[in-house]
Amino acid sequence: MTDIKNIVTLGVGLMGQGIAQVALMAGYNVTLVDINEELVNKAFTSIEKGVKKDIRMDELEILDIDLSFKFKINNNEFEVPKLEVLYEKCLTCKYPNPIIHDILLADPVKPRGKTNEGYEKVTELASLNTEERWKYWAEKFDRCIRCYACRNICPVCYCKECLTDKWEPDWIRKSVNLTENTMFHITRAFHLAGRCVSCYECERACPVGIPLLDLYKMIEKEILINFNYEAGTDMEAKSVLTTFNPDDPGEFIL
């Protein structure tokens, strides 16, 4: 919840207005959306009035109940489904409690909402034929502006000099086009194999909405199935792709 700064209310009738006002007074930026512009203006005025009544913050109570948040304010209750206000990554997070820690502040929390592994989408993508999959990715890679926010926000990217910044040889050219962008994203996906911890920060940071985890999750799934390895969950485990085990699956290995 702490990551959320902005809330959009779709439909600003009586209910929507209430939700907007509660969210506004809890310190969020609120945007009102309705198909009718006049309703938006009306809602704006009435929320302004409501806020001016100076309801104090300590009269607001937010309860975390299973699949939704409940707001209590002046004996009024509003319920907001978590699906609407939380990031997908928070809903599918398998490890909401730090696995490796010295001291855990506060009590451990339960995984929120859905507890699946988040492989539905990649399984669906993998079921498409090559042409369909390429169409999906070509449209996404084409819009990349190579701002490198995905790389810079990544907690596991550690290279002192990224290969995208190398001039000689220029593995990835400066031209921003489908070929070079694809090269960048495929290279990054392979470099993250066995390293990506599914924090989804790259996807959150991406200013052009590229679903990067659709790439990384696919590799993560393969590694889990073939090597029973999950990055970041065991301090003692050796990095899966930099170690050799004679029992590793794959007949092509001598």
């Binding site: 902005n6 819009r143 926010a149 790389r151 200013p207 909405g209």
Partner: protein, 343 residues
């Protein structure tokens, strides 16, 4: 809003007819791509979505391309061959940007003095000359918009050939240039004379838009203030969370820095011009390895100084149009309004 040379009314159901008559242009407009919006080539008018406010990436890229081939060469000949690439990407067709928001059009008014100075930049200027801009006023500005604070406004017309205002079932078109006039003259049947009620409604919408823009940037005296605080700890503090990515500069309608590289395949190659970002360390690193802007603090400070001190001192215009993209899309919530208001 300045005085138009002509005012027309366009019923919304006539928009597609009008656009069909403009088929000699490459038409670009806002398109919804599911959780992503962009200024894209409109092949069918149904793709156009004029309810989209600022697209993720500014339409700056349609005049100042992110990647532009300059020359193509082949050294594997008796005499090395060099081919000029200027103008090869638009087949000589003029382009039309429909639904561009006032802040983005303002961006071109900002870029012009840079590319049309002592050195005339043929790549930018040929595109600029070949482009007609049909703006769309923002009846309801986004919550992070602040164009009114930096010399613009939700109904501002700087850089525009036509400004459209959405009245619900009709667009009112204010025409400002001869380029704009040509577009309207192509389809005399689709336009009508606006009624006085419509014009009154337009004024009301403009007044509402101005008051609903709640975020304000205090710019008075800021270039001078910046001059006194180059060494302040402030820059260190605010840049601690900066990722050093290129989002703020690449989405910006006024950033114009570029890099020139030769991309080679054996004896053949292309000299290519690509956007560059002052937020990257490579931007200033010398061949010796020395970097005069070694830390993110130096780079973030430079971005602020360029937009709010150096550029206004040179051209008397802020290097910011208040489009809000750098605020909306910064993954770590660095907020240019907060930065300027604080100092």
């Amino acid at each position: 809003m300045s005085e138009p040379i002509e005012v027309k009314s366009l019923p919304k159901e006539q928009l597609n007819t009008w656009l069909a008559n403009l088929n000699r242009y490459n038409i670009y407009g806002p398109v919804d791509r599911e959780e992503y919006t962009e200024f894209a080539h409109i092949k069918d008018p149904s793709e156009l979505d004029l309810t989209i406010r600022n697209t993720f990436v500014s339409p700056k890229r349609l005049i100042f391309s992110q990647t532009k081939n300059m020359i193509r060469y082949d050294l594997n000949k008796d005499l090395p061959e060099i081919h000029e690439e200027l103008g090869k990407d638009d087949n000589g067709r003029e382009q039309l940007l429909i639904g561009i928001r006032p802040c983005d059009a303002h961006g071109f008014a900002y870029l012009d003095p840079t590319f049309d100075a002592e050195f005339k930049d043929p790549y930018y200027l040929s595109k600029r000359k070949n482009t007609t801009l049909i703006g769309l006023a923002c009846n309801v500005p986004d919550m992070n918009c602040f164009c009114s604070s930096v010399g613009g406004g939700p109904f501002d017309t700087k850089g525009l050939d036509i400004l459209m205002v959405d009245l619900g079932s009709t667009f009112i078109l204010n025409i400002y240039t001869d380029k704009g006039k040509v577009l309207v003259e192509s389809s005399p049947d689709v336009f009508t004379k606006p009624s006085s009620e419509q014009l009154q409604r337009l004024d009301e919408l403009q007044a509402t838009a101005n008051t609903t823009q709640t975020r304000k940037m205090e710019t008075d005296g800021k270039p001078e203030k910046l001059g006194e605080m180059f060494e302040s700890d402030y820059w260190d503090n605010i840049s601690k969370k900066c990722l050093g990515c290129g989002i703020c500069t690449y989405l910006c309608p006024t950033c114009y820095c570029f890099d020139i590289t030769d991309e080679k395949w054996g004896t053949q190659g292309v000299r290519v011009r690509t956007w560059d970002s002052c937020m990257y360390p490579e931007y200033t690193v010398h061949a010796s390895g020395y970097n005069p802007r070694p830390a993110r603090m130096n780079r973030l400070r430079n971005r602020v100084y360029h937009k709010f001190k150096y550029y206004p001192e040179l051209y008397d215009i802020f290097g910011c149009t208040g489009c809000g993209r750098c605020i909306r899309h910064c993954p770590v919530n660095i907020d240019i309004i907060d930065i300027i208001n604080f100092i």
